[in-house]
């Protein structure tokens, strides 16, 4: 059963290694820290403990700087193993004191595998000094940890790591400190984990010992730690030691726990169960954090998608509403109309030599110019709307911290080759329109008429019809564009018949919209890949949930 627990914890550690919070949103840093602390706790404590439930207990002596942790450890043993000091913070490298029979287990590196072991004092390192002392009861080791609240960042981090790896805490504070916020965070955390904790209030001025002890006991009860064994020690050193009578109750309590395998195992299981339970909460928070990451990424993505899709819509609207039928296009159109002698009946002598000549000297070259004008003008619209979409997306992204981090200046405008690609897109569309017209003109009935008008001219005429195809033209617009498109429509109808023109226009428009969307999608991909590159994969979230569920299942058998 404990192998199943160990396996499931290994799986969870594997899943945690994949967890990242790359987007700078609220709580991302917390998430990274939490994931790190959790993997650390699995490595340092949960896994070794699950593999060996009967291994010796690790009691960590932790607390504030200056509360007298080292003095307490020394006094408990009756000899000096840990260096106390006046200058704060003192204990920089942790000292583990255990019965000689347990030394192998603690030297083996199963618990706290990342800490280097040493047998002598190595000042200035974070190495774990293992001291064998027959005074310590077998089956229980005392670990003098660094402080939890000093200015030294390394001390605080190591203390946190050690306390997370403990089966049992001996938490030390002092009369001057017992209401400090930082140690209380730890005590609350221990309460949440249902960890076995003994609380020591050290350095009490003898005159106020009773008052302070009562007040502290009240605080403990308020925080749900009323059951924790509680020891008050007055400030009166004999040399470097606390008088033996004062530490005797603590020594007795530890001895009582260590003396019987059943009690040791109860403590181990209570702490392990509590830690596994609180792990659920941590995983749930990580899960939420990952979901927030995904939401933030989705937001960025949908902002880009919305802007570019709006740009495509705007292009669609401009193409259909007649506003293209002004300026250059209309001028060239007039040229085409002027030479084709349009209003004459097209039915007579359509394939005559004159028409062929005109094809070369008249309408066709002008129609080609019109085609050029169309591709030029349409490409300009595409460039502008894309430019606006890039600008707007960059603007939206720069309003969030996460988005700002992904943004670079080149995203604020379209890629450098975009104008060329836009022009190419329009030209391909024009080719398609010509192909459509040619296809339509294949029948016997139409070929001659189409030849008379010229394929290019017919294609250009169809584009003019497309450019006013959404209808609803009003005012001056209806005057110019409406007249133009009506003329163009009549002209095409005289070649292909009424129904066909409407279909051709619809199809052409469709083709254009499709191409525009593809083109804009390529541009928006520049934004989307930025999001993609840093997104956490779906499987990470699933793996984490699955591994946590497995641990939950395995812990039931504990």
């Amino acid at each position: 059963m404990s192998t199943e627990l160990a396996d499931s914890l290994t799986a969870l550690a594997g899943a945690l290694a994949e967890v990242r919070f790359p987007l700078d949103v609220d709580g991302a840093r917390d998430g990274d820290e939490r994931a790190g602390a959790l993997s650390g706790q699995i490595r340092d404590y949960l896994l070794p403990r699950a593999e060996a439930l009967d291994a010796p207990l690790l009691a960590v002596v932790g607390g504030s700087t200056g509360a007298g942790k080292s003095t307490l450890v020394n006094s408990l043993l009756g000899r000096r193993v840990s260096q106390p000091g006046v200058l704060r913070p003192t204990t920089k490298s942790p000292v583990l004191v255990c019965h000689p029979s347990d030394a192998d287990w603690f030297r083996s590196g199963r618990v706290l595998p990342e800490l280097t072991r040493t047998d002598v004092v190595l000042p200035g390192t974070r190495a774990l000094q293992v001291v064998e002392a027959p005074e310590v009861p077998a089956g229980l080791a005392l670990l003098d940890a660094p402080d939890v609240d000093s200015i030294d960042d390394g001390n605080r981090a190591l203390a946190r790591q050690l306390l997370l790896a403990a089966d049992l805490w001996l938490f030390v504070t002092s009369a001057a400190r017992y209401a400090d916020a930082v140690p209380w965070e730890f005590l609350r955390n221990a309460g949440d984990r249902e960890l076995v904790v003994g609380v020591v209030i050290n350095r009490c001025p003898p005159a106020v010992l009773g008052e302070v002890a009562r007040d502290f006991a009240r605080l403990l009860t308020d925080e749900g730690l009323g059951d924790a064994p509680f020891f008050a020690i007055k400030e009166a050193l004999e040399g470097e030691m606390i008088p033996g009578s004062d530490v005797a109750p603590i020594r007795r309590w530890l001895g009582w726990i260590a003396s019987e395998a059943g009690r040791r195992s109860a403590v181990v299981k209570q702490s392990l169960r509590g830690a596994l339970r609180s792990l659920d909460d941590d995983v749930a928070r990580l899960h939420r954090g990952l979901a927030e990451q995904r939401e933030a990424a989705d937001d960025l993505r949908s902002q880009a998608e919305a802007e570019f899709s709006a740009a495509a819509d705007r292009v669609g609207a401009i193409v259909g509403d007649g506003s293209m039928l002004r300026g250059e296009i209309i001028a060239h159109w007039h040229d085409v109309v002027g030479t084709t002698d349009l209003m004459r009946g097209l039915d007579e002598k359509v394939a005559s030599l004159r028409s062929r000549l005109r094809r070369w000297w008249g309408a066709e070259p002008k129609a080609e110019k019109l085609q050029d004008a169309v591709s030029d003008q349409l490409a300009r619209v595409l460039v502008d709307e894309t430019d606006a979409a890039c600008d707007a997306t960059a603007d939206a992204w720069s309003r969030t911290r996460g988005g700002r981090a992904l943004l670079t200046d080149d995203l604020r405008s379209p890629s450098t080759d975009f104008p060329a690609r836009a022009a190419a897109t329009v030209r391909s569309w024009q080719q398609e329109v010509l192909a459509l017209v040619t296809e339509q003109g294949k029948g016997k009935r139409f070929r001659a008429r189409l030849l008379a008008l010229g394929t290019n001219a017919a294609g250009a005429t169809l584009m003019v019809v497309v450019f006013a195809s959404t209808g609803g033209l009003t005012g001056a617009e209806a005057g110019i564009a409406g007249g133009t498109s009506l003329l163009a429509q009549r002209l095409l109808e005289s070649v292909f018949g009424a129904g066909a023109v409407e279909r051709l226009a619809r199809e052409s428009r469709h083709l254009l919209e499709g191409r525009v969307r593809v083109l804009l999608a390529e541009e928006s991909a520049r934004f989307l890949t930025r999001v993609e590159e840093i997104s956490v994969g779906e499987h990470v979230i699933d793996d984490l949930a699955a591994a946590a569920a497995r641990v939950r299942e395995a812990r039931k058998n504990l």
Partner: protein, 505 residues
Amino acid sequence: MITAALAELEEYVRLAILAPDLETRAKEVIEFANQRVRAGEQTVVALAGATGSGKSSLFNALSGTTLATVAARRPTTAKPLALSFSATNGPLLNLLQITRRHEAPPPTPDLADVVLLDLPDHDSTHLRHREEVDRLVRIIDQFIFVVDPQKYADAALHHRYLRPLAQHRDVISVVLNHADAATHGAPLIDDDGRWQSGLAMLVEHLRAMLQEDGLGDVPVFATSALTGEGVDELREHIATIAREKSAMRLRLAADLHNLARDLSNYGGVASTVSDADVAALQEEVAAAAGVPWMARAVRQAVQRRGAMLGARPDGTPALELPAHRVASAADDARAATAVRRFVADSTANLPERWRDHARSEISRPAGEQLGARVDAAMRDVELADLESPFGWGLVRLLKWLPVVTLAACGGWLAYEVVWGSDEFLPRLLTIAAAAFVGTVLVSILGDWSLRLGARRAEKKTARRLRAAVDAEVVRGVVTPVKAELEAHQRAESALQRMTGILARG
């Protein structure tokens, strides 16, 4: 000094486009500084520190009162307590929002202008205490941080308070209270008049930490509130500060300095609009508005009219100006792109907020309205008077010259046939040939001058339309961009002047 610096800061805040939180902070600093200067020159000295460091007992020892509550239970002081050694300055304490007010005779005459504050602890589980300290830390004139041998290395003290206050080192002192604990009850000062060796080591360590916090040269005292040792020195230190009457100004100067540093981080580089960029923008907008097209159309119209000159008997036909061209969506797009690029390039070196502002306040409105404005301006341009009537008269006159000559030749021929000799023929033929050549020449000349006139009309049209378009571009885009760049420059120089004033002290 403070007032002058404040004026510059106000100018900066008025001009600058700041992130909302920074703007709020700047405004708060200005408002508080103004009020604090008005509230008078008393020096507010606060005892701050951790729970259990003995702030309150030190407060009592310093003031010679028993006003502050001293107890073994932690934490004790909940609300800040103010003790004035002269008549209570109501507006000042109102500004600091301190309600627990007391008055006492000054323990020494020098302290008369001092208001002594006992602050709540900053590190207890009572969040409200911390909030109160955080609030007061931002506004008190002079701090005395009280630490003790147990707590002097706490992260809560160094990370949360001392490091962020590094700029305020002129108004901070640190007191190691409960120093008797370090000497195990022995006097703090040994027989040589120096600190007892254990204490000296402790103070040395404390100093090293303060050095790391950026508070290297702040005064450090050691006291024992229990025995009263060291309290007199501390009181004398406070009295010196009060005599100099500079704590308040130093404090405000440090606040302004801090703010100025954050604001200048936000700075950006001053830049100007390049003439080449403006010219390129105008060119692009003019092209989008169809200026070259219109000019070409005018040339064609002039030429058409010239071609009709001889054909019409009823005098000079009116010049038919081309119809005004309505801009297409593509033309609008071209202008909008040009404007957006121009604004983005010109403001590229400004801070982000300024760039956003330029984008939303200049680019976007211009993109929407510039087309219509340019259009209207172009319609207003007068084009009817494009050519001189004199030119046309001359051409018309010359056109008649060969006709008149031929008519004269005809008359001469008739005269000679009826009355004349027979030697006229060669001469007549010569004249007729000359008239013919003259006709051809006149035709060529007329054509040439017509083309010349048409080209001149094209250039004139282009020039007039460009002037109208350029003016609109300047009005709608260039001027606002320049105004923004200038505002940025003025804001930055106001900030520099303020830093200069503070540096001179």
